[in-house]
């Protein structure tokens, strides 16, 4: 008996297990939360060292980016992200990982056409639409201020 696409889609959905949201979501909360706690710890520590509140946030971000890049280079970040999911993807560490991972992978194709061209294969869309969204947001703010 021939099965059509609609019937097969039903069969496939029945046979395919879903992601375990009851594990993934709490883990994302805990691991993502821990990254944020680390960020707050760094900020507070930098402030104690005499860096202004304004700059301590920037220095804390730079530290997190460094740690993420280091852990990516040591083949550890993906093992954390496997459990952390969105918790490791959304913070700035996820962005750093998304840039360092292709840099490591594509250096075999050379510094220009490999590393240089493919550095932003994953992070590129985030930058494009991040910038676009901020422009739209800026226009909205501008219009509302006019009103």
């Amino acid at each position: 008996m021939a099965v059509d696409k609609i019937e097969y889609d039903k069969m496939m959905k029945k046979a395919s297990p879903n992601s375990k949201a009851y594990i993934n979501i709490p883990l994302a909360f805990i691991i993502g939360g821990l990254i944020c706690v680390l960020g707050q710890f760094l900020m507070t520590s930098y402030e104690k060292l005499g860096i202004s509140t304004y700059f301590s946030g920037t220095v804390a971000s730079i530290t997190l980016i460094f740690l993420s890049a280091l852990l990516t280079g040591l083949n550890l970040y993906d093992n954390i992200a496997k459990h952390g999911g969105a918790g490791t993807l959304v913070p700035i560490t996820g962005f750093a990982n998304a840039v360092v991972a292709p840099a490591l992978e594509f250096k075999a194709e050379g510094l220009i056409l490999g590393l240089g061209a493919k550095l932003f294969t994953i992070a590129g869309p985030v930058i494009v639409y991040g910038v676009t969204a901020s422009v739209i947001y800026g226009i909205i703010i501008y219009i509302f201020k006019l009103v």
Binding site: Y8, M12, P17, A81, G85, N97, A98, L104, E105, I122
Partner: protein, 338 residues
């Protein structure tokens, strides 16, 4: 000489022999349930090379060289080699085999390549246009991830239906040695597409192709599933295997008792974090050449229908929203020549 039984099925009347076979796998595959059966487990996934593409080439070259030496032959004795892999332009194969200087026929059947290459080599031997023919394929987790998915160190999560590309290779040398395992028949599948677009559910995309090819083989040869000790699909994994059994059940064919899938055999699904199972050309190739052919040679299995399955998409077609076509080819491998 071969007998054309139908549009799909060819009987190899002289029952060519798989004179020798070899398999080499990576570390993770070596830690799996079949680890001790492979010719060699390389704990270094680079295989001593500087790029993943070179690693795969080295893996494939070493495997085919091992198979040729196990047959007490040298590369110059091989009349034709049928080979392919998953990488763009099949460079894993071409760069791996270029030094062997064997007349080369490149194949792309995605993960169905082991069955496709054995079918071609078997037909060449059966019709006396070659004395020795080789068939080989490989896949490498790292080169496949790089081409089809994300960089290795990218922190992403896999879905439960995703499969793990095996770092593995299998090779056979086929001639008329008149010793088991024998190749009795081949069924060439057609491209089947039931509209699966989820690139993380390859098993579901390929199951309709396996269903078609198995159904055709049984209908063309007048056999039933009970005539085989094992119906062995390539890399349908958990989801695809369930769907295949369900699809065949709808035709009144029950293979649930004697079906297994190489993607379910290569890894310990509970311990090795491969989600729905193994995949890749090397998955079915290494399970066949590392484990199953030994069992046929030793008389533990008598008749096996080896059905390697492939997903015929590229990253570009996936990004363009195209569905994933599947292919499957079946080889009847037997301990008996008639």
């Amino acid at each position: 000489m071969s007998l054309r039984l139908s549009q799909n099925t060819i009987i190899l009347n002289t029952s060519p022999s798989i004179a020798s076979y070899a398999s080499i796998v990576g570390k993770k595959e070596g830690e799996g349930p079949l680890g001790k059966h492979f010719d060699f487990v390389n704990d270094d996934n680079t295989f001593g090379e500087s790029t993943w593409e070179k690693s795969e080439s080295r893996l494939q070259k070493d495997t085919v060289s091992k198979a040729i030496s196990k047959a007490n032959l040298v590369p110059a004795d091989i009349d034709f080699i049928f080979a392919g892999d998953l990488l763009n332009q099949c460079v894993g194969t071409t760069f791996g085999l270029r030094e062997l200087e064997i007349p080369f026929i490149g194949l792309y059947g995605a993960c169905s390549t082991m069955a496709e290459s054995i079918a071609m080599a078997g037909i060449f031997i059966d019709n006396d246009v070659a004395i020795n023919a080789a068939a080989v394929t490989s896949s490498h987790f790292c080169s496949a991830e790089k081409q089809f998915r994300f960089p290795l160190e990218y922190g992403g999560q896999r879905t439960p239906t995703s499969q793990w590309t095996a770092t593995a290779s299998g090779a056979v040398v086929i001639n008329k040695k008149n010793a088991p395992p024998f190749i009795r028949a081949v069924t060439i599948g057609k491209i089947m597409d039931l509209g699966v677009v989820d690139v993380n559910n390859m098993g579901a995309a390929m199951a309709p192709a396996a269903h078609y090819t198995i159904g055709k083989h049984l209908a063309d040869t007048g056999k039933s599933p009970d005539d085989f000790d094992l119906i062995l699909t390539g890399d349908l994994g958990l989801v695809g295997s369930d769907l295949l059994i369900d699809l065949l059940n709808r035709d009144g064919t029950d293979i649930s008792e004697n079906h297994n899938d190489c993607g379910l055999m290569l890894y310990d699904l509970d311990e090795q974090d491969v989600h729905a199972g193994g995949s890749g050309c090397g998955c079915s190739a290494s399970v066949l050449c590392g484990y199953i052919l030994d069992q046929i040679r030793d008389g533990i299995l008598s008749d096996v229908l080896f059905v390697a399955t492939g997903a015929l998409m590229s990253p570009t077609t996936v990004e363009q929203g195209e569905s994933i076509p599947g292919i499957a080819h079946a080889i009847h491998i037997s301990g008996k020549s008639e």
